[in-house]
């Protein structure tokens, strides 16, 4: 039938055959907002003049971006979110629950074959578990809240095949940074991406989330993967809903196919101030940094914390470095406690924040000073992103971040090979 994953999922949700380029109205399985976008969602919903949302089981709000509230303005928004939730009888993941993109899949709200909208640009994260999920603005989300549907332009799809065997010290973050560096910040604008290949097959589901999470950094609408055994095991553990795995047809029509062999890949770093400004770690090795941040919806999962803990165990971060670690969800935090990672981090001189977005978006918990440099495991390094336009942000994997924290300078995690799995 020559359909891509995106064409198939949209077809199923609009009850007709959707082809790239068509505009369709599709039913949405789940939608959500976070504390930075829910205020306007609520305002726009009110303006629509609809009294109750389409389905209270299919919407939630997550208080994660500025959480707990750092000022009165934010407190008012949080209060408004809680009020709306009580009125409509919907779930709020309140302060301390974690980042929306971890909490939502982890709680089992989404499953294979779903069509999901989130009022947050990194909603593409769940592509890793075979979900067509994409970010929209608040008003778009309000339209869905009122009607249960929205209009979609069916995207063309770029197929990316990643083969090879990743060297030790090189992780899924390095894979996606390398790809973004290659295709550029707008290389996939308006398009869907499907990821395949040995590297993807070998990765855990957690590591795959990192890749789909960053699809939007090359402009993509979504970053889809097919559902294999690992996906199905993951889904079974987290969701009670029936998965409907979707595969592309063998003769599906792709806009283009990109192939990579990453057996020799070095740890990658995105330099200030764009995500596609990527180089191998050796090019920036030795650059002094003032803050190291490990966390976010990109790299705040248990595996990421484990990697950081292996490198940091029994050691101390360099004096000049503020080391900030934010587990992506409460569950992850609890696991990290049980496994002793939190103790390792604290003994290394780190601050372990409550689950949430942490300093990622510059509203609190580690705002940079003028002239400071940060090394972060997040997905964006735009000027001003961490709250100060006169600071610089480098992006890389949790391993590179941990190695950097020890030195106080950007460092190559392969030097800690023996500690890594």
């Amino acid at each position: 039938m020559r359909q891509t994953i995106a064409e198939k999922i949209l077809s199923e949700h609009c009850e007709k055959r959707a082809r790239a380029g068509d505009i369709v109205i599709a039913k949405v399985d789940f939608c959500f907002g976070q504390d930075g976008t829910s205020g306007i969602i609520i305002d726009s919903f009110r303006k629509l003049g609809v009294e109750t949302i389409f389905d209270k089981e299919r919407f939630c709000m997550v208080i994660d971006h500025s959480s707990p509230s750092p000022n009165i303005g934010v407190s008012a928004i949080h209060d408004k979110i809680r009020g709306f939730a009580r009125e409509q009888g919907v779930k709020v993941f309140d302060i301390g629950s974690g980042v929306c993109h971890q909490v939502i899949p982890e709680t089992g709200f989404v499953t294979c074959g779903d069509l999901v909208l989130g009022a947050d640009s990194h909603t593409c994260t769940y592509g890793a578990i075979n979900v067509l999920s994409t970010g929209v603005g608040s008003t778009d989300l309000a339209i869905t809240l009122a009607s249960g549907e929205n209009w979609f332009k069916v995207p063309e799809t770029i197929r990316i095949i990643v083969n090879g065997d990743l060297p030790k010290g090189v992780f899924s973050k390095d894979v996606i940074l390398n790809i973004i560096g290659d295709v550029g910040s707008d290389g996939a604008t308006y398009q869907a991406v499907e990821f395949y290949g040995e590297v993807i097959d070998d990765l855990s589901v957690d590591a795959r989330f990192t890749i789909s999470n960053m699809a939007v950094e090359m402009g993509a609408k979504c970053g889809l993967m097919r559902a294999d055994r690992k996906t199905m095991d993951w889904i079974k553990k987290h969701s009670i809903r029936e998965p409907r795995p979707v595969e592309a047809d063998e003769d599906a029509r792709y806009l283009m196919t990109l192939e990579y062999d990453l057996s020799d890949l070095a740890p990658q770093v995105a330099m200030p101030h764009t995500v596609d400004n990527v180089c191998g770690v050796e090019e920036v090795e030795g650059t002094p940094v003032d803050e190291v941040y490990i966390g976010t919806c990109t790299n705040g999962r248990l595996e990421d914390l484990e990697t950081a803990a292996r490198i940091l165990k029994g050691r101390r971060a360099a004096k000049r470095v503020k080391l900030i670690i934010t587990p992506a969800s409460r569950n992850i935090y609890l696991e990290a406690l049980k496994k002793g990672y939190v103790e390792t981090f604290m003994s290394a001189g780190a601050i372990v924040n409550n689950p949430g977005c942490g300093p990622c978006v510059g509203t609190h918990q580690g705002v940079l000073a003028d002239g400071e440099k940060a090394f972060s495991t997040a997905n964006r390094n735009f000027k001003g992103r961490m709250g100060n336009p006169n600071a610089e942000i480098y992006l890389g994997s949790p391993a590179t971040a941990a190695a950097t924290a020890l030195e106080g300078r950007i460092a190559d995690p392969r030097e800690h090979k023996r500690r890594l799995k």
Binding site: G73, G137, S138, D186, R380, G384
Partner: protein, 167 residues
Amino acid sequence: MVNFAHRLKISNDINTDYIISGRYKFKIQNEKELAKHIFEDLEENFYKKIKPGDFLVAGKNFGCGSSREQAPVALKASGLQAIIATSYARIFYRNSFNVGFCLVECETNYIDDMDELELDLEKNIIRNVSKGVNLEIKPIPGIMKKFLEKGGVVEYFKAHGGFEEII
């Protein structure tokens, strides 16, 4: 009506953090106040240059980054008539028309700062009065045009009770 073009020092990949910093999106609820901070991290007091009806001119991938709707809201409130850029990021593109703000796609190498421009959405051209040339623009998709006419998607949705009519 003829209005002025404003170019920022950087042209490509203008992200939503540059349009309106995350520092303000939580703090300021008033659109006019928000508009005073547009592009602040790139150029202080940028908003003061804008007279109602002016244009902002940029290169590729305008509006990349976060989904914050405050970005097009602030641009609209600043008095800008439209953005003219070579291409836009997806979420920003939807958000802009959703709030009734116009985005125009065309080659922008031939527009300099403070050129006088006139936008003609009927003929799909921009007249560069300063240079005496007409620039062809990509026609705005029908669905987006309908939102613009109504002043945004909310108004459209209320008037029509859904999207069925445009498909």
